[in-house]
Amino acid sequence: MTELALQQYLDFAYIVAVVLFILSLKLLSSPASARWGVLAGEIGAALAVIATLFNPELVQYKWIIISLVIGAGVGVPLGMVHMTAVPQRTALSHAFGAMSAAIIGIAEYYVGTRQVTRFEMGEISLEVIIGSLTFTGSLIAAGKLQEVLPQRPIVYRGQNIVSLSILAGALGLAVALVVNPANTILFPIMVLVALIFGVMLVTPIGGADMPTVISLLNSYAGFSAALLGFVLNSKVLVVAGALDGSSGFILSVIMCKAMNRSFTNVMFGAFGQVQASSAGVKEERVVRSATPEETASILAAANKVVVVPGYGMAVAQAQHKVRELYDLLTKKGIDVRFAIHPVAGRMPGHMNVLLAEADIPYDRLVEMDEINGDFPQTDVALIIGANDVTNPAARTDQSSPIFGMPILDVDKAHTVMVIKRSMNPGFAGIDNPLYYLNQTLMLFGDAKQFVGSIVKELGGH
């Protein structure tokens, strides 16, 4: 077979792979067909990898085989992590993906230093900058999610100016390289500056903003791969990168809307700073609490119950106890559903995965817009480890930092029950007027233990 004919077969394999990738995402539109989507993606990826191994440019296979084996050896355990570790695993995979894209760009620069044109230099620089900052940014995000690093935002005066100057520095070096691509000393400095910028970008961001950040890093990782496709003139990379980039972009927009933040606000990293602690008027307000026994009897008398899970449920690992509660109440003929706020948890869809892991049928998980109209007919809204997404101040109090954020209208339910460790305000430091309403009962304790006690009470009857 001539080399040209072989090249055409390889290109054809890539086209089939691209079609399978798009099909893979399309099949994800419904949980019933989603697993076929994974299969389509796997076949496409395998086809592309195998075709690449026949590329006539390859002269040595030793390092390819060794690294593929290492990659599989690292990848399988990373795919087997516990479901509660999914947010940090996702951040880590953004880091790996961005690192690969950056490294390939760097290698391409050192291969082609002699004949690189100004235009190509611009492409490579941009690609390597985005890849590098996404790499370190994602590592910081993974560290925060794994709680190796503090989850609270780390801020200092003039932070935005310092961060933006560093970014400007990286871009300035890129411009200098475009002007004179032979100035090789500048290239590693540019990479270093971009790596530093990634750290600066994510350190000021708090845990509650992680769903937005992780989506944004997802989109950066995708676009860096697409840019790499431009550098290498590889259409399969352009398409896969564009798909991943637009997916991250859509998720970022959804997360922004769910937090009532503008997209520019997020793009320029001004987030994490909105959390001015509103040390408002400290009036004595009455809070009513209830014991597990009382809670159990109220739940048993209800017809319709809506459970609102949040990050607290994930931290307490309460999802399996919640499933037991769901089973008991359902057996009594009580209608139990789960209200899912888009930013509940630490990444898009976090709560759905945890509840699915606990074997709760997905048709019981209802999105915010669909369930909000049902709260006035709901007997009990049971909030487990969620705070800001239920705060009615977002609707009424113009001075509240979260004013305008769409929330779950739990305050319209006949009885509101909140499982919470103490009256300390939540992560964002914003007081929640929900806790002082007449129909609200505070259930103080650890989410897993408290739900466990309710289950015990209900099981006893």
Partner: protein, 98 residues
């Protein structure tokens, strides 16, 4: 502008639109698996890494290529494995009873 750039730009824009239309329809229920699946697909950069590692031009590029092969292939394998594990957990109320 080189002609390759223009044709790549066409592909990028069209793929971006296709991605937007397809991903818009993904149920919010599956946003976490969506992210892990797109990560696995994005790991297709492994094909570029394989070429860099196997062309054996300089020692530096071979090492860089090998690192990129390992990192992106781990993403590909791990991404597919975890996406499938997650999707296996999603059961509807009807299928559960049967």
């Amino acid at each position: 502008m080189p002609p390759d750039f223009i044709s790549n730009l066409y592909v990028f824009i069209l793929a971006g639109f296709v991605g937007f239309e397809v991903i818009k329809r993904v149920s919010p229920l599956l946003h976490t698996p969506l992210m892990s699946l797109t990560n696995a697909l994005d790991a297709i950069v492994v094909v570029a890494a394989i070429i860099i590692a196997g062309r054996h031009e300089t020692r530096l590029t071979t090492i860089l290529g090998a690192i990129a092969v390992a990192a992106s292939f781990s993403n590909m394998v791990g991404g597919f494995v975890i996406t499938d594990r997650m999707l296996r957990m999603f059961k509807s109320g009807r299928s559960k009873q049967s």
